[in-house]
């Protein structure tokens, strides 16, 4: 069998190995790239000290998962114009929030818990990530993450810090069928509510100024106040003075109904107040009887420590206080209702008032006295309508500015409560170049291994099926295979076939023994090999002492010389000198006449000459 | 001589000759192609955008500078140029000289252009050397001016220069475009007050002698106004140093060096010679002069000069707060 030569096996299949490795590497690269994901991550930290107790600034539970709530994501989808392209749920499912715990604090917590003490610690630093597919790209991942956090910061502030909204409650009131008085009341109430919210903002941060609108909450409050004092008041006074109404009867009945409702609710309130007073008395009596009220102001609770005791941390109202507040609230609503009724009466009286100029006609008419007899009524009414429209426009613009300022403030507060520790960074889930390189080397090793295995298997098969084990030349089966492969081809110029037959092998086997015969065969093998040397020749042992040498790149004279050398070596041998060997040599070549392999072989057989080696 | 050379040597010489001629041919062909491409490319102008910051700018302000048109046409009656200027929506338009080859022969051309520009935005016109040559019959350097007016250093009166009336100025102003000859004009644009000053005698020898007072009025009065200084040639900035020339300075004249070679820069100007930027010349683009931006336009002329890598340009300057 041939020697184990790695390079020979690899060299044989080298082009295939290279092409296969390159193609397979490319396929792997393509698969990895297309299944790769881009993960954008950002680190955020809640600055408020309540966050470490798992609480938001309002004392409610801090739920970080709000970052990926549908409220936030739907806004993101809207903002990025992805409606119809991506569903909110599909984006939510790709967001991941991982807490980063402070190890020192965790150790502290564990230590405290072991001692039986309470220690509340929740992580306040989180990694927020969003995964995008390779088709979407790194840019998409980063953008979605940025927008999500933008919206979340704003919503966080709205929900937990800057709670009261500053909404436009008077939008389109002129489109509804309100009377002038009702519209003015709504405007006044709306401005009042807005001012309350604005004053709260001013308390939080008097000098905060929006960069988008260029105004502060103070300025907005001043603007609303100015409008109220000047334009709202002016309109009110005109409406009162000229009894301007769309429908007097409807207006009067509205206010009358209001008075009636107040009366009914007051009667109800009276009942509730009585019950509450009864309850309060009973409560105090019971507390006294039980001795729970017998405590002095010097009583000290030792084990109760409250850090940073604020005015209000959670609801600490006791039952008795709740009763007292309930009494007060019901009494207050009753008294306010009485005042409101007085106001309604004032409005009714104003619109029912008759100057006498109409001759009492207004009492039985749907029109007011002024409408009936004052010639200025129409122009004043037009004036009021125009001024009202202008006021609503001005208020709309102001509300718009307020909303923008408030929104920006929410973003500002959000950013002050939640800080970014690390900007969005994008990493690929799979290091494509690295894995491709590894795959390439792996494939090369695999292919080379395969080539070695295939080559060695070939050698083994050749040895088993096509090698003569005595001479280690190719065997008869190989010759048959060879001839079959050359059946349809003509041999090129320079092909020389040489036959060497040991003519008296049978006699030698019989005379001396088979072993001696084998040794003679081996000796012939050796000398033939030696004679042919490094020429490119196929050696075949055809059995029964018959050797065939196939040289495809030689000529007759060269082979004849080789055979002469062979005969010389045979004659000068030292082994089996006593045995007379008779042998035949036949040589044939293709020269200027291309022949088939079989024909050439036949010619070589024909050209056989006998020789003997007697020493 | 040939008969003493070996065949191999002869072959080498032939090969070398062939190579040399081949290289020359290829280089010539390349040069012709470059020139042709430049010629075709120069049929159109490009826009060059600059951003300038000034805290005096309450809101964004856009200035368009046209320079060195030399009576060229872009479309019928410069329709293409005007249309593009209009699309860019400037707040102020400034022509920094040499818009015509001759103020006498091409006055109608200039007036027509001025009329169209002034319909788009407030427009200003500063004289270049071509206008000066055709209007004044003497160069505007200190010696000639002194001689013309009979002034000495002690009794110079710079207002005398402005008293010389010229019909070109009248024609332009009638068309709606303001001519600035050592004078400033103040306009209100987008709630901002902008002072635009145009220099008539940009020759360094006569600048201080005949423009000092008007120039100082421009830069020191109402210092809160945004100051734009327009002058045809940039030589006064090369020659003199001053702590404040304006918030924005605009120049032309150099035609961007005509040919611009990569790495080396502008190749040649008449006054600066070869590679003028290397010797401190202000030739093309944006420079910093006393901490404020100076922009030198390469001009709009596309005939009579061979521009290589130097397309005619329309300069658009956006001024903002920061």
């Amino acid at each position: 069998m041939k020697n184990f030569q790695i390079l020979r096996y690899i060299k044989k299949l080298l082009p295939i190995i290279i092409v296969f490795c390159l193609l397979a590497t490319y396929v792997i690269y393509y698969k990895l790239s297309s299944s790769n994901t881009y993960i954008a991550s950002e680190v955020i930290h809640y600055n408020d000290e309540q966050a470490e107790k798992g609480l938001a600034p309002t004392g409610d539970k801090l739920d970080v998962n709000e970052i990926k709530s549908s409220a936030v994501m739907s806004k993101v989808v809207d903002k990025m114009g992805l409606t119809g392209i991506y569903s909110v749920d599909s984006l939510i499912s790709r967001i991941d929030i991982t807490p980063i715990a402070d190890e020192d604090k965790l150790a502290q917590k564990d230590a405290k818990l072991e001692e039986g003490e309470e220690y509340i610690y929740e992580p306040s630093t989180f990694i927020v990530s969003f995964a995008a597919t390779s088709g979407e790209g790194a840019d998409f991942a980063r953008t979605i993450l940025d927008e999500t956090l933008d919206v979340y910061f704003e919503q966080f502030s709205q929900k937990y810090v800057n709670v009261a909204p500053a909404n436009n409650t008077i939008k389109n009131i002129d489109k509804n069928d309100y009377d002038f008085m009702e519209m003015m009341e709504l405007i006044d109430t709306g401005i009042d509510g807005t001012l309350t919210t604005l004053y709260q903002r001013i308390d939080q941060n008097d000098f905060y100024r929006s960069t988008e609108t260029g105004v502060s909450f103070s300025e907005l409050a001043d603007d609303f106040n100015y409008l109220r004092q000047v334009k709202v008041s002016s309109l009110f006074s005109k409406i009162y003075k000229y009894q301007i109404t769309k429908n007097k009867a409807v207006l009067i009945s509205d206010y009358t109904t209001r008075i009636d409702n107040n009366t009914i609710s007051n009667a109800k309130a009276d009942g509730i107040v009585e019950d509450v007073v009864t309850l309060i008395d009973a409560y105090v009596t019971k507390m006294r009887e039980s001795g729970n009220t017998n405590i002095t102001y010097e009583y000290i609770l030792d084990n109760l420590h409250e850090r940073n005791l604020q005015d209000y941390v959670g609801d600490q109202t006791v039952t008795y206080d709740e009763l007292i507040y309930s009494w007060r609230d019901h009494r207050e609503s009753k008294e306010h209702a009485i005042i409101d009724s007085a106001y309604c009466t004032y409005v009714i009286d104003t619109f029912n008032h008759c100057t006498g100029n109409c001759g009492g006609e207004c009492a039985s008419s749907d029109l007011t006295c002024t409408e009936l007899c004052d010639e200025q009524y129409a122009s004043v009414r037009k004036e009021v309508e125009d001024e009202l429209a202008a006021l609503l426009e001005e208020l709309s613009a102001l509300y718009d500015t307020t909303m923008k300022t408030n929104n920006e403030y929410n973003k500002y507060v959000g950013a002050s409560y939640i800080s970014v520790l690390s900007s969005a960074s994008v990493k690929q889930s799979v290091n494509v170049p690295l894995y491709t390189l590894i795959a390439f080397f792996f494939l090369v090793v695999l292919c080379c291994g395969g080539a070695i295995i295939l080559g060695r298997t070939g050698d083994i098969i050749n040895y088993i099926f096509y090698t003569d084990h005595l001479t280690l030349f190719n065997n008869r089966a190989y010759l048959d295979k060879y001839l079959k492969s050359k059946d349809k081809k003509l041999l090129d110029d320079g092909a020389v076939y040489c036959l060497v037959d040991i003519a008296n092998l049978v006699h030698i086997n019989g005379e001396y023994s088979r072993d001696v015969g084998d040794e003679i065969i081996k000796m012939f093998t050796f000398y033939i090999k030696e004679a042919f040397g490094k020429t490119k020749t196929e050696y075949i042992y055809n059995g029964n002492g018959s050797f065939v040498m196939l040289a495809e790149d030689s000529d007759y004279i060269t082979v004849e010389d080789i055979m002469r050398l062979f005969r010389l070596r045979l004659d000068e041998r030292e082994e089996h000198r006593n045995i007379a060997i008779e042998y035949k040599i036949g040589i044939a070549e293709t020269f200027k006449e291309n022949k088939t392999a079989r024909k050439l072989l036949s010619e070589a057989i024909k050209n056989k000459k006998s020789y003997s080696s007697n020493i | 001589m040939d008969k003493f050379l070996s065949p191999k040597a002869k072959k080498n010489i032939r090969a070398a000759k062939f190579f040399a001629f081949g290289m020359i041919f290829v280089c010539l062909a390349t040069a012709i192609v470059i020139v042709l491409c430049s010629y075709i490319g120069n049929r159109n102008f490009r826009e060059t955008f600059y951003n300038v910051s000034s805290i005096k700018a309450d809101s964004p302000l856009r200035v368009i500078q046209l320079s060195d048109l030399h009576s060229c046409l872009y479309g019928d009656d410069n329709q293409k140029l005007i249309a593009r200027v209009e699309e860019l929506k400037p707040d102020v338009i400034i022509c920094t000289g040499d818009m015509v080859n001759s103020a006498t022969d091409d006055a109608d051309f200039a007036a027509d252009l001025g009329r169209k520009l002034s319909k788009i935005a407030p427009s200003y016109y500063v004289y270049g050397n071509n206008e000066v040559e055709s209007i004044y019959d003497f160069p505007l350097n200190e010696k000639e001016l002194d001689e013309h007016f009979g002034f000495t250093k002690a009794n110079r009166d710079e207002t005398k220069l402005l008293e010389i009336k010229d019909s070109f100025e009248q024609k332009l102003e009638k068309a709606g475009i303001k001519v600035l000859k050592n004078e400033k004009d103040t306009i209100e644009v987008k709630n901002m007050t902008v002072d635009v000053y145009g220099v008539l005698n940009s020759n360094p020898s006569s600048f201080w002698s005949y423009s000092e007072k008007s120039f100082f009025d421009h830069i020191y009065e109402n210092s809160d106004n945004l100051k734009i200084t327009a002058v045809h040639e940039p030589f006064i900035f090369e020659e003199f140093s001053h702590d404040f020339w304006g918030d924005l300075m605009l120049c032309g004249h150099t035609h961007g060096g005509v040919m611009r070679v990569p790495v080396l820069g502008p190749l040649y100007t008449h006054e600066g010679g070869l590679l003028p930027e290397r010797s401190g010349g202000l030739v093309y683009g944006r420079y910093d002069v006393s901490g404020k931006p100076l922009i030198v336009s390469s001009g709009l002329e596309n005939k009579n000069i061979l521009r290589i890598n130097n397309q005619p340009e329309l300069v658009v300057i956006d001024i903002n707060k920061f």
Partner: protein
Amino acid sequence: MITALLQKLIILIIGVLFLVSAAIIYFRFKNVNRTEAAQIFKTTQYFNAWLILLCFVVTIVFGVFNHFELKKSVHAIISLNYSEASQAQNSNGTRYNMAEIICDEVVDKAIEKGALKDVTTKELRDCLVVYPCVQGGVGDESEYHISTEFAVEYHASKHTSHLDSENVIKLITSAYKEYYIENYTDNFGLASEKPNFDEMEYMDIAAYFDKETLSILNYLYGMAEKNNSFVTENNTTFNSLAGRVYQFKETQINQNFRSFILQNGIVRDKEAYVDRLSHHNKNVDFDRQKNGVSFDLCNQAIDMYSEEMTRVVLVPTWDEAGKYYMGRTKVGIDELSVLATSYSDYVTSNEKEIMDNNLLIDKMSAGNEDSGLHESVDLMADAIYDSIKGFEKEAIKAGREYSSHKMNQCIAVSIYGISIMNELKTLVLFAIFAYAAFMLRVISKKFPKKV
């Protein structure tokens, strides 16, 4: 598109030529022995005039297409120079969002500024990419990084190939800067339009002046809170400027203007104004009654509170400054007392408002509509308005100087167009590669097919 195809085609042809020649040499190498092969390589004429010329021409052609291709891509670096950038915030304290650099609003603005034709916002936006120049990681605290420099890349597509790439990127960065300044930098300013004083009552004009000066004061105090030692070019601080405005307000507006109107009963439409004040007083009176009732009820509730329920306990407590003290538990009367106090304040405020209005009513009623003082009051109003505008201008200028000093130009942009050196490098490499391919071809022809 065509230039891209041609550029790639040239590279492909040269590449194929190189590979094919190399393959031919490889396969025919076995047809010669080593000595013959060495001889072939030795005898090859490496300096071939034809080949050099051909290589030169091919390189020039490639260079032209390459140049046009490179021109389609350009990038810029945007650096945030203000201090808040290092905390990933905008200069107004809100969270910085890098995606805004190429948001639709910015792209729209760029298209408008450049009057770019035949391109939609989406088409242009699709050609832009923005990413941080340096990005950190989230694995460990040492990897955390806040990006303050961002790269914007523009790669022309078939929809935008007609645009000048360098101009596009300049417009985008300029539009972004403008967008940023509009939205995130100090934009203080009063209403630009002067109200029509002829249609306003004089007291309303005074109220208007009051409002405007308060606006300026609020701005100046806000700026002083940020940095009260900042000195402007005119050697003023925000506080000193605020002091002057305050003094003006107290003296010119409140003392001079308002008092003059009040004492002389100067009014345009006496009846309407008095009516207005009367009705306003009526409304305020209702509020006063409500607040008064609330106050009384709080007091009654305190009286009702059983003394036995007021017993308290003391609790060891820390205050906000970390100091230890004995706090007492709160009871309902504490809150009722606080409420009662605020209602009392409201009542007082309402009563004061009513009294002030009554005074106005008295004065205006006694005044003469045709007193002839209107002209002088109108002049005073115009003068005060001009002064307020002057203060506004000063305040804006001071604010802008401060912003300019603090923001350090806010955003700096560097544009990177085509680098001539990189182009030359590419050309040289290509020339070498092409020449190698041609030489290999020549050499491969010298190797025999088969002996």
